[in-house]
Subunit: 364 residues, 2 copies
C-alpha cells in the first residue's frame, strides 16, 4: 500500500488516489486548457464552469433544496466562529445557544462570546467530553438567534447521529469533519459549514450552505468579507478565491458521485471501516481504551490510548515503521487518534487493525 493510502491524519488528511493523480497532471497542464491550474484566472470561463460544477455536485450529493445558497470561503471554521454571530446574533433575537461537546465546539462558543452574548445550551465537561446530548431535548429559548453545534468532534472522537439534528430555532452546524461522509437531512439546518481538509480537499477553502431566508437578518455595514451575503451574491468570486483548493474539492465531489456512487454508498464504506476498527479496539479492551462512550463514537475519528504515554509512543513508532502516518492524538488530549475520512480505504484500516492486534499481543 502507498504511503498516501496509509494516512490516518486528523487533517489535512488522505485524498483519493485518483484525485491526486489527476491533480498532479493539472499542475503543469489542465486537460481542458493545456495550462497550469495554478495560473488560471479566477475570471476565466474554465474556473466559472468549475465553480458551477462544485456547486452542482454538492447539491446532487445532498439533494439540497434550491433555497440554500452555497459559497466557498477563506479563513476556515475559525473565521466563521466570529462571522456567524456577527451576521446572525442580532438584537431582534435572544442570545444564540451553543452546545459545548468538545474541543472544537468550545473554541466556537469562546470565539462567539467575543462578538455577542451567548448561552451554553449543554456542556460536556462534567462527563469529560465523552458523551453527547440529544439535541432536540435541549431547553433552548424559543427566540434564540440560533443553536450551534459541531456534528463531529475530531479531537475526542464523538459524533452526533444525523437523526439528532432537530431544533425549534435555526440550527447551525460546523460539519468540518463529517460533511459528505454520509447522507444528510440538510433541510433541517439554517446553515452548515465545513472546511475542506478532512473529507473535501486541501486546506484553504470552506464550504458554507445557508438558507437564504437567514440572510435577511444580516445587519448592514459589516465589512464585505465578513458579510455572508457577499460571496453568495458574487458566486464565490468577490475577490480572488482559492482556485486550486476549489479545483481539488471539485474533483473530490466528482469522485464521490462517479466512483463511490453517492453518500449512501460512502456511508456504507465508512460504517464498515469504523466497525472494523472499533471491533478490533473492543476486542483489545484489556490493553486499550476508547475515549468516547459507545453510543457517540465517531465514524471519522477514533481517539484511544494504551493508557500509558510510553506505550502510545511505541505504537506510533511501530505503525510509522509499517508506512502509516498521522496516528498521534490531538495535542489537547494526547494518546492516539485514527482518522477514517472518506479517502481512507477499508484495506488501510485492515493494515492498522493488524498492527494494533500484534502490538497489543506483544504488550499485553
Amino acid at each position: 500500500m502507498t504511503p498516501n493510502a496509509l494516512n490516518f491524519s486528523g487533517g489535512p488528511g488522505a485524498l483519493p488516489a485518483t484525485v491526486l493523480d489527476e491533480t498532479r497532471d493539472a499542475i503543469v497542464a489542465l486537460p481542458e486548457t493545456g495550462r497550469s491550474v495554478l495560473g488560471m484566472s479566477h475570471r476565466s470561463a474554465w474556473f466559472l464552469g468549475l465553480l458551477d460544477e462544485a456547486e452542482r455536485n454538492i447539491r446532487a450529493l445532498l439533494g439540497l433544496p434550491e433555497r440554500y445558497a452555497i459559497s466557498f470561503l477563506q479563513g476556515g471554521s475559525s473565521l466563521l466562529f466570529a462571522t456567524i454571530p456577527m451576521n446572525f446574533a442580532t438584537r431582534a433575537f435572544a442570545p444564540p445557544e451553543y452546545v459545548n461537546s468538545g474541543y472544537w465546539s468550545r473554541r466556537a462558543s469562546a470565539e462567539a462570546q467575543r462578538t455577542a452574548a451567548c448561552r451554553i445550551a449543554w456542556d460536556g465537561a462534567p462527563t469529560g467530553f465523552s458523551e453527547l446530548p440529544a439535541l432536540q431535548q435541549l431547553a433552548v429559548a424559543p427566540n434564540a438567534a440560533y443553536l450551534h453545534y459541531v456534528s463531529n468532534e475530531t479531537v475526542e472522537g464523538l459524533q452526533f447521529g444525523d437523526g439528532e439534528a432537530r431544533s425549534a430555532v435555526p440550527l447551525i452546524a460546523d460539519m468540518s469533519s463529517d460533511f459528505l461522509s454520509r447522507p444528510l437531512a440538510a433541510e433541517r439546518f439554517a446553515m452548515i459549514y465545513a472546511h475542506a481538509q478532512k473529507n473535501l480537499g486541501p486546506a484553504g477553502v470552506t464550504v458554507a450552505l445557508i438558507d437564504r431566508a437567514l440572510l435577511e437578518r444580516i445587519p448592514p455595514n459589516l465589512p464585505h468579507m465578513l458579510d455572508l451575503r457577499t460571496q453568495i451574491e458574487h458566486r464565490s468570486n468577490y475577490n480572488t478565491p482559492p482556485v486550486f483548493a476549489i479545483y481539488v474539492l471539485t474533483l473530490v465531489t466528482r469522485w464521490l458521485r462517479n466512483e463511490i456512487g453517492g453518500l449512501a454508498a460512502m456511508q456504507r464504506i465508512n460504517e464498515a471501516k469504523a466497525q472494523r476498527l472499533y471491533g478490533t479496539l473492543d476486542a483489545m479492551r484489556e490493553v486499550v481504551k476508547v475515549h468516547a462512550a459507545a453510543p457517540w463514537r465517531s465514524r471519522m475519528n477514533a481517539a484511544f490510548t494504551f493508557g500509558d504515554a510510553r506505550l502510545d509512543r511505541a505504537f506510533i513508532a511501530c505503525a510509522n515503521a509499517r508506512g502509516m502516518a498521522g496516528l498521534e492524538g490531538h495535542r489537547s488530549l494526547g494518546g492516539l487518534r485514527a482518522s477514517l475520512y472518506n479517502a481512507v480505504t477499508l484495506e488501510a484500516v485492515d493494515v492498522l487493525c493488524e498492527t494494533l492486534i500484534e502490538f497489543g499481543r506483544r504488550h499485553a
Copy 2:
C-alpha cells in the same frame, strides 16, 4: 514555448517552470516525506520547517530587520482592507489617510470607510488614474493613524518608485502585485502586505510584514482571526493554514534566491522586460495607446489599447492563436493588459512584442 510560459494574466498568473515541475511531483510524493503535500498535517515537523524557510527566504531577500514579524494569512487583500483599520485606526489617532490612485486603492479606502472614518490624501480621478503623486509631499495630518497606498495598480498599470516610499506617519502598503519584484527599503514601512497570486504563488495566501511596534495599538477583544497579533503569536499556525499555497510560495522564494540570485537580479530582468514591451508600444504610438503616463508606467502590468474594442478583441484572438493567454484588460477598464510578473521571461515578452508589431502593421 510552452503555454505556461506565455501566460500574461493579471493574476493568478505565471509561475516558474521549475516550481511547477517540483510541485507536480509533490502532489503524489514530497521528496522529504514520501507523501502527498496535500495530506501533510500543518502540525508536522515538515510543515513547521517549511514555514521557517518561507520566513527565512523573505527576510534574506529583503534584508528585513528583526523587528518585523512575518505572517501568512487567508482572505486576500480584500479582508485586510477591513482588518487594517480595525487594528490600527484607533481613537488615539487622527483618521487614517488613503491615496486613491486607481481601482485597487479605491477598493481599499472604500472598505476602510465601512470600519473607520478615513481621509483621502490624494485622488487620481481628475487625471483619469493615469498619474501618481509624490508620497512624501502629501499633506498628511501628523497624528494620522497611518498612510495607506497601493504600490502597483494592476488595473491601470501604474507603479510608485520604491524611492517614493517615505512618510512622516506609519506607512502601510498593499504590494500585492509587485512584492519581491525588486529590492525594497522595507524599514520605511509600518506594514507591507501582498497576496500570493501575482509574484509569489497560487491564490489562497497573503503575506504580511508588520513592525512589531505597531502591534501595541491593536484594541483588545477583536475576533482572533481579525486581530493581526494572532497569526504572529502562533507562527501562522493558529488554525489550519493553507498548507499547499505556502508550500508553493516557499518554492518561489527559493527560486528567487537560488536560481534568480536575489531581488536586484530580479529587478534587472523585470526592467528589461518592461523596456522591451514599452519600447515596442511607444514605437507603435500611431496605433496603440498606453494608459499610464510615462513616469508612472508599471513594470508589472502594461495597460494599453488599439483605441477600438473590435481591434483589441482581434489582437487577443491573434495572440491566443499563438499560444498566449491572459491579455484581456481588467473588466473595469477594458482594453488590453500584459502582466510581466517575475515568472514571465524576456523570451515570452519577445513573442508578445513580435505579435504586437505584426498586428500593428496589418492594422495601421
